[in-house]
Symmetry: C2
DNA sequence: CGGTATCCAAAAGGATACTG
DNA sequence: CAGTATCCTTTTGGATACCG
C-alpha cells in the first residue's frame, strides 16, 4: 500500500472514506455497541450517552449505506427500529475493537510518554 | 469493554483520545508512512501530498507527545529533522494498517452496498 | 418512537507570511 | 529546512422545534 494513493486524487479515494466512517467519533462507538447485540435507536442513544439525535442518525445512515449496519424498521405503532451489524460490519467492528483494546492496554505507556514530553518542555 | 466508559465523563476518557489521534485524518497517513521507513519533515509532506505544513506539524507533535513518534533534530545547517516510530508507534501503526488493509480488501462490497442503498431510495 | 429541518457555535483545517 | 503565527474558510456538531 502506498500512502500517496490515499490522497493523490482531488476527491479522497473511496477506501479512505470508509476508514473515516468506521473510525469516526460516533462510528467507533456504534460499531462496538452493535457488535455486542442489536439495539434500537433510543437504546443506542442511551448507551452511548453523549451523542445527539442528529449525529446518531447521521452515523447510522452512513454505516448502513456502506453496508456495515442493517436497519430493520418494524411497521408498528409506536415505531420500532432495530439496528444490527451485517457480516461486513462485524468484520469492521472486530478491527475497530482491536484498535480500541490496544489503546486501552497501552494507555499507561502513553501517559508516561506524555509526562516526559511535558516535563522536557517546562 | 463498555461503550459508555468512552463517553461517560465530561472530558473524554484518555484512551478514547489516543484512538482519535491514531485514526485522525493525518495520523493514519503519518503512521503508515513512518512504518515503512523514517522520513524527514519535507519528505512526509511530499509523501502525503495534500497535507498542510500546519497540520503535519501538529499531527507529528501529538503523536510524539503520545510516545508513538520519535523526533530526531540534528544540529546542522540547514536543519534536518528525522521522524520515526517508537516501539509503541509500531504497534499502533500495525493496527491502523490492518484496518486500512481491510477497507481496501472489502471496498468492492462497500461500493455494491452503496449502489443498492442509493437505488432503493431513488 | 424515531426520526428530519433549521439555525447557530465551535473546531478543524488551509493559505500566507514570517523566523531561526 | 523545518517549522510558527495569523487570519480566514469550511466542516462538524449541538440545541431546538417539528413531523409521521
Amino acid at each position: 500500500m502506498d500512502v500517496s494513493d490515499w490522497t493523490a486524487r482531488e476527491e479522497m479515494c473511496p477506501h479512505r472514506l470508509v476508514l473515516e466512517h468506521v473510525t469516526s467519533r460516533w462510528g467507533v462507538l456504534v460499531l462496538i455497541a452493535l457488535e455486542e447485540r442489536s439495539h434500537r435507536f433510543s437504546e443506542l442513544r442511551r448507551r452511548i450517552g453523549s451523542v445527539s439525535e442528529k449525529m446518531l442518525a447521521q452515523t447510522l445512515q452512513i454505516l448502513e449505506r456502506d453496508g456495515l449496519v442493517h436497519r430493520d424498521a418494524k411497521p408498528v405503532i409506536p415505531p420500532r427500529v432495530d439496528y444490527s451489524l451485517t457480516e461486513l460490519g462485524r468484520e469492521a467492528a472486530a478491527q475497530v475493537r482491536a484498535l480500541a483494546t490496544w489503546t486501552e492496554r497501552r494507555m499507561d505507556d502513553v501517559l508516561k510518554a506524555r509526562l516526559e514530553y511535558d516535563e522536557a518542555r517546562s
